[in-house]
């Protein structure tokens, strides 16, 4: 069974592009915003979350922190991505699971594979 990734990204083209890259190996569930993401989370838990930071209905960084502080979700890895700088992350520990836009897709794939394999 393919592992599941929740992809939270408000830009449709980036969502499609990342879907295209990841679809072969993973089951990708695209979420336009945090509301959709939370609905998904309430249904089932993914193996990895890819989280944009500036989202129309909130801050992905804070949403990621909330996952880490929740006993049920704390072990789900979160890969943050943003066109903003890594130092704008609320939790400096997250810098190792951060990728700046735009990115090298090979590097991106490696990162995703690595984080999921640690699961």
């Amino acid at each position: 069974m393919k592992k599941t990734i929740y992809l939270v990204e408000d830009d449709e083209d980036i969502r499609d592009m990342l879907g295209l890259i990841l679809n072969r190996s993973y089951h990708v569930v695209p979420c336009e915003n945090l509301k959709e993401f939370n609905t998904q989370m309430n249904q089932s838990l993914p193996d990895l979350v890819i989280m944009d930071i500036m989202l129309p209905d909130g801050n992905g960084d804070e949403a990621g922190l909330a996952l880490q502080h929740n006993a049920v979700t704390k072990d789900i890895p979160v890969l943050f991505m943003s066109a903003n700088m890594r130092f704008e992350l609320a939790n400096p520990l997250n810098k190792h699971s951060f990728i700046g836009k735009p990115f090298d897709i090979k590097f991106f794939q490696q990162k995703v594979n690595h984080m999921i394999s640690l699961q």
Binding site: D11, D13, I14, L18, A83, N84, K101, P102, F103, I105
Partner: protein, 544 residues
């Protein structure tokens, strides 16, 4: 001087000499008194009568202490002691009391009086009234102190850029200078929404004393000040015809500080608008003088310049913040489409086998990469300008980093070979890895860019006592001395190379990054002989 007159009296016979002497004593402006060794007064001239108000017959035989204020009685002991020892007391400045109890500042000269055998039998005392001198001295002193205060307050406020820290020292200083019991500075400020609001500072009274009262209302008395019509100075405000007829308070509201003497000075902006006023009060009548008025007016005009400066500063800062906000937003928005473009180009690059098409894709991707770097630089500059560039220090091996960066040029820069050499041992540094990488990349990219005719770039790493140095040397067009000075400034680009692209931000950013690492960046170059850029920074992060 009596002494000189005595000498010129030398040609008179003795009897005449005595007469001359006594005439001189009698006509002297100064008090000339003699006393015996017990301190009893034995002679008293006209001058003494005029200064101390006692007639001779009232004081002859009395003890000299009738002239001495209680707290200074011990002075007499010292004086008599000196006289007994045959010593003179010269120009001794002290205070004495007159018959009517007035205190006088006087200067005393006391000499021993000897009998025919040379025994000391008493003292002669010349007292000069120096009250006026003292008064003048005090005036000068006071004037100097006021000037000093004026100077201190103006230098204190001229460097300040927020309103409250200007208003307070101005209120304090002016209250002190005028001798007011309480002073207040009411100032109209405009908030970000463009609404005006009242700021005020108080000196000499608790804030609550004013809080109950609200702002000074636009009554006829306050109107003069807030309309900028001039200074209002009233010796007794309760006697002013304008006072006591204005509803709702009909005079000072209950709980008002007891104001009798009143002084109000408008504070006008440079453009002539009234921006506020300084108000002073005192419970006694007639406290404020014209001089106070002048002093406060001077301070008021300086305060208005300082307030104007802080308004301008706030405006500039607001605009600059808006600019930074805009750049941050713009760079974020530009990077979103770049992410998609770069992503799909990379996907295509993996899928397309045709060589020509692959070349086109490579070129396109390189341009996307460049575009992304420009956007990032723009964003970094705005962060640096706003003082918000945050460094993320970590421990890493700088030699590994250099090798990694140089490796990437093997593929991307086929025109040049980048040589590397490391000197010393222990290449661990505590720094922002990504930022240092950015600096190294910038220097190598520049070295290649500005040496189109050459094919080699040399990178050298050196470690020394607690610091590391990285050098990047090229064999390119080089820089003149004047250019070397400007090379690290923002938007500066080497002249005459219009066909070499760039925003002129790279070296500015690199230099700022190295500065933030407590390091320094240098350039050595000669026109036509290549350039060597190098930077040094402590290998251990220094506590801020």
């Amino acid at each position: 001087m009596p002494g000189q007159n005595l000498k010129s009296a030398g040609k008179f016979p003795d009897i005449l000499k005595l007469a001359v002497l006594s005439a001189i004593v009698e006509s002297s402006e100064d008090a000339i008194i003699s006393k015996d060794l017990n301190g009893n007064i034995t002679s008293w001239n006209n001058g003494a009568q005029r200064i101390f108000e006692y007639a001779a017959e009232e004081v002859l035989g009395k003890h000299i202490s009738i002239l001495i204020p209680n707290e200074l009685l011990s002075e007499e002991e010292h004086i008599i002691k000196s006289i007994r020892a045959g010593k003179r007391v010269d120009h001794f400045k002290t205070v004495r009391v007159t018959k009517s109890g007035r205190r006088l500042h006087i200067s005393l000269t006391i000499s021993p009086v000897k009998d025919a055998d040379g025994n000391i039998v008493g003292a002669s005392k010349i007292a000069r009234d120096i009250s006026r001198d003292i008064l003048r001295e005090n005036q000068i002193l006071q004037y100097t102190r006021r000037l000093e205060m004026l100077n201190a307050v103006s230098s204190e406020i001229s460097g300040l850029l927020d309103e409250h820290s200007i208003l307070q020292p101005v209120t304090d200083a002016t209250t002190k200078i005028t001798g007011a019991a309480f002073g207040a500075f009411f100032y109209n400020a405009i908030n970000e929404e463009g609404e005006s609001y009242l700021l005020y500072t108080i000196s000499g009274a608790p804030k609550e004393a004013f809080e109950k009262l609200g702002a000074p209302r636009n009554t006829p008395l306050f109107h003069t000040t807030f309309a900028g019509l001039g200074v209002v100075r009233v010796a007794d405000v309760t006697k002013d015809p304008r006072y006591g007829h204005i509803p709702p308070h009909y005079g000072m509201p209950e709980g008002h500080l007891p104001v009798v003497s009143y002084l109000a000075v408008p504070v006008k902006s440079v453009s002539g608008n009234v921006i506020g006023g300084l108000f002073f009060g005192h419970p006694e009548a007639g406290v404020f003088t014209e001089e106070h008025e002048d002093m406060v007016s001077i301070i008021a005009s300086q305060a208005s310049v300082a307030l104007e400066n802080c308004r301008l500063f706030a405006e500039v800062k607001k605009l600059s913040d808006k600019k930074d906000e805009f750049i941050a937003l713009a760079s974020h928005e530009l990077k979103t489409p770049l992410t998609t473009i770069s992503g799909y180009l990379q996907v295509l690059q993996q899928q397309i086998a045709d060589d020509t098409a692959k070349t086109f894709l490579d070129k396109s991707l390189r341009q996307v990469h460049k575009l992304n770097e420009l956007v990032t630089d723009m964003f970094d500059v705005s962060k640096i300008e706003a003082g918000k560039l945050v460094l993320d220090f970590e421990l890493f091996d700088i030699k590994d980093l250099l090798l990694e960066v140089i490796e990437t040029y093997r593929f991307s820069a086929k025109s040049h070979t980048v040589y590397f050499e490391a000197e010393g041992t222990g290449f661990a540094v505590e720094a922002d890895r990504q930022r240092i990488e950015q600096v190294i990349q910038n220097l190598i990219t520049n070295a290649i860019k500005y040496s189109p005719a050459a094919d080699e770039v040399f990178v050298k790493l050196k470690t020394g006592t607690g610091e590391v140095t990285v050098m990047v040397k090229d064999e390119g067009i080089g820089l003149g001395a004047a250019e070397q000075k400007k090379i690290f400034s923002r938007f500066y680009r080497v002249e005459g190379n219009r066909n070499i692209s760039g925003l002129g931000l790279g070296l500015y950013l690199s230099n700022e990054i190295i500065k933030r690492h407590n390091g320094k960046m240098y350039v050595k170059s000669e026109i036509g002989k290549g350039a060597e850029f190098y930077f040094t920074f402590p290998s251990k992060k220094r506590p801020a």
